[in-house]
């Protein structure tokens, strides 16, 4: 009952005129950002974070969370009408969304995506409301070893479950952590890692400089290079009557996918390395596996649109859970949100629920409100978004570059950082071409300032004995899981080798 009381207070805060306005603007911007190929929630949040300093911190984070929500809805629009996912989270939506559009049922596909997204978002919000307070109260007893063990777990999930090249993933994590260490050593106060003795490094490398460089410049260069600027749109006709009929059909033919996506999405979203993209792909796979007619998938089945769309919305809320309760982001977007909260003087983690209860519940309330408005704005303005998708990339791209440069400067007000951002952007473009995952680096630069002091203080506490991470009742199991996850690819490699050698022997004998 106490939770319901706090939640209703949160609703009141979220419904304040300024917050409500920011939610509506945020979801609308998010829908557009999500719909544009090459842009996703992470790009939108990274590029727009510096301009949120205009409003109070509470409202700023509500605005950014609304963008995150809207982008999850928006990704489906381009997946269905263009056949190009607006964001990686909507890749699975193209599998059945595009065939539906090609059959002349683009409207049904878009409405199914919107309805499934709404249900996925609502289910995950309820889970969030139920799980967040108990998790935060458990986390209140965490000391430095437990916090470092959690950081290790966050990085380990990227290695064990990320699915990318292992040495490249570990490299990405480490370089992000080293970049976070640039500036002054917090304990001795001595300058550290001042590359080529350039004074601009004395104030450290702001996470936004890396995030905007990677997601604003690097990703846009990659999109221009990979799409060669050739993007074409499919027509979709809309009427109120048609939308109502489609919504009914979506519920009848897409309920299974929606249910599967809502549940899987939330729990996959909680995992730091996973997030909305694998959540949506996994939900699509499970929905297909459980279907009586799996052959219909890929031909334009509404369940095939509903499952990934419900999942990516559900996962976006799921990824907020570890960020707010433990201070560990569940996705690159939440990593940037976490960085933003630190800038605004809010320390994510269990203390937030005690010290900033009003803010936390206002934010949770805003999730529900954002979810509702994302549905309304999405359904009302689908034709407008489709029209906007026809905007030539040669207009959108320079606008993003301008926003990135200006945003990069506004974050630290130092031209050195703007140059650094360009270097990071071009570097990320090349690294992405070579399959280096860049998200772990962004996560690491945000978590680095928490990970290093907790490690050093833990080792000081134990007089240098690393067993402190294994001996303690909470840190121990977390560390063990982290180590298993780090070693998981090695086990897989060994197992595959063993299976291969077992399979070839009889053939040789025969």
């Amino acid at each position: 009952m106490e939770i319901l009381g706090l939640l209703s207070d949160g609703f009141l805060l979220a419904m304040q005129p300024l917050n409500l306005l920011l939610i509506i603007v945020g979801v609308t911007l998010g829908l557009f950002i999500g719909a544009m190929p090459g842009l996703g929630s992470v790009n939108g949040v990274a590029i727009l974070l510096p301009i949120t300093f205009l409003v109070p911190p509470n409202s700023a984070i509500i605005f950014l969370a609304a963008i995150y929500y809207g982008a999850m809805y928006g990704g489906a629009i381009s997946s269905i009408t263009l056949g190009i996912p607006g964001a990686s989270t909507a890749v699975a939506t193209t599998f059945d969304g595009r065939p539906l559009a090609m059959k002349g049922r683009a409207s049904l596909a878009l409405v199914t995506a919107a309805v499934a997204s709404f249900i996925g978002g609502t289910v995950s919000n309820i889970f969030f409301t139920a799980f967040a307070p108990p998790l935060a109260s458990v986390a209140l007893s965490f000391g430095n070893p437990e916090i470092f063990a959690l950081m290790l777990l966050a990085f380990a999930t990227f290695v064990g479950l990320g699915g990318d090249d292992i040495p490249k993933t570990i490299f990405s994590i480490c370089i992000g952590l080293v970049f976070a260490a640039v500036g002054y050593d917090e304990i001795s106060g001595a300058p550290r890692l001042i590359f080529f003795d350039i004074s601009g490094f004395l104030h450290g490398i702001n996470f936004l400089v890396l995030a905007i460089g990677v997601y604003g410049i690097g990703e846009m260069l990659w999109t221009i290079d990979s799409t060669r600027g050739k993007i074409t749109s499919t027509e979709a006709k809309f009427s109120i009557k048609g939308v109502t009929a489609d919504a009914k059909e979506a519920l009848q033919r897409g309920w299974k996918g929606t249910t599967i996506g809502s549940l899987i999405g939330f729990f996959v979203g909680i995992l730091p390395a996973a997030g909305a993209t694998p959540g949506s792909l996994m939900s699509y796979g499970v929905a297909k596996m459980l279907s009586k007619n799996p052959k219909d998938y890929g031909q334009g089945h509404p369940d095939g649109v509903a499952a990934p769309e419900a999942a990516n919305n559900s996962a976006s809320t799921g990824s907020m859970l570890p960020m707010l309760t433990l201070g560990i982001p569940g996705s690159p977007t939440t990593a940037i949100l976490l960085g933003g909260m630190v800038i605004w003087g809010l320390t994510p983690g269990p203390r937030l629920f005690v010290d900033q209860s009003e803010f936390v519940w206002g934010l949770i309330g805003s999730f529900y409100v954002s979810n509702f408005f994302a549905l309304v704005v999405n359904l009302a303005f689908i034709p407008v978004f489709i029209w906007m998708l026809r905007m030539p990339f040669t207009i959108l791209a320079p606008m993003i570059f301008v926003l990135s440069v200006v945003g990069g400067y506004a974050a630290t007000r130092d031209m050195h950082d703007v140059w650094l951002m360009l270097i990071f952007g071009i570097g990320a473009f090349f690294l992405r071409k070579l399959d280096y995952p860049v998200a772990p680096a962004v996560l690491a630069i945000v978590l680095g300032p928490i990970a290093e002091p907790t490690l050093r203080q833990s080792l000081l506490l134990s007089s240098g004995d690393p067993m402190i991470f294994l001996n303690r009742p909470i840190a121990g199991p977390i560390t063990v899981i982290a180590v298993i996850l780090i070693l998981l690819p090695l086990f897989k490699f060994g197992w595959n080798k063993f299976k291969k050698s077992g399979g070839t022997q009889p053939a040789q004998q025969g």
Binding site: L177, I224, F401, M415, E452, G464
Partner: protein, 167 residues
């Protein structure tokens, strides 16, 4: 792509060694009563980075990673041209911001991109190239109170005139 992977691994290995070297400017071992030295964290992380590049090189030699199997160039002629024109354009924009102000830089960059790369009409180009910096000026200077670079002194009269609308 194959050659690109090994060259990149080599560059990243050199970067890792440089970071290890820079980390040794502070103590990298354990200091009794103080805990790990200030250089320990970045030093050992850079060492792990170096080890990773060795594994990347081994995977390259064994042709197990997708880029090491690829016969495509890392950047074809379109990619190279794009990087030169777009990346170079952004670099020029940032460089110009210190001379003709960031607002002036936005104007020049938008004209360059919209008209010469995008081949849009002069009417559209000039509408966007003039309206965007003006909107940004009032948004940042008036609303957010963030001063963007104003360049050399010759831009002063223009900004003094625009400031009349704010103050």
């Amino acid at each position: 792509m194959r050659r690109g992977e090994i060259i990149t691994a080599g560059i990243l290995a050199l970067l890792s060694i440089y970071m290890m070297y820079k980390s040794t400017e502070l103590e990298i071992g354990y200091i009794s009563g103080e805990g790990p030295g200030g250089g320990a964290w970045p030093f050992w992380l850079s060492a792990i980075m170096l080890i990773c590049t060795v594994f990347i090189a081994i995977n390259w030699a064994r042709r197990t990673s997708p880029p090491s199997q690829s016969t495509e160039p890392m950047l074809d002629s379109y990619g190279m041209k794009m990087l030169f024109l777009v990346g170079g354009g952004i670099a020029a924009f940032i460089g110009l911001s210190s001379i003709i102000s960031m607002y002036g830089g936005i104007f020049v960059f938008l004209v360059y991109y919209l008209r010469f790369l995008g081949r849009h009409s002069w009417a559209l180009t000039m509408t966007l190239a003039t309206s965007v910096p003006i909107i940004f000026f009032f948004f940042f200077e008036a609303l957010m109170r963030i001063t963007l670079p104003k360049g050399w002194s010759f831009t002063e009269p223009l900004f003094n005139w625009l400031n009349n609308f704010i103050y």
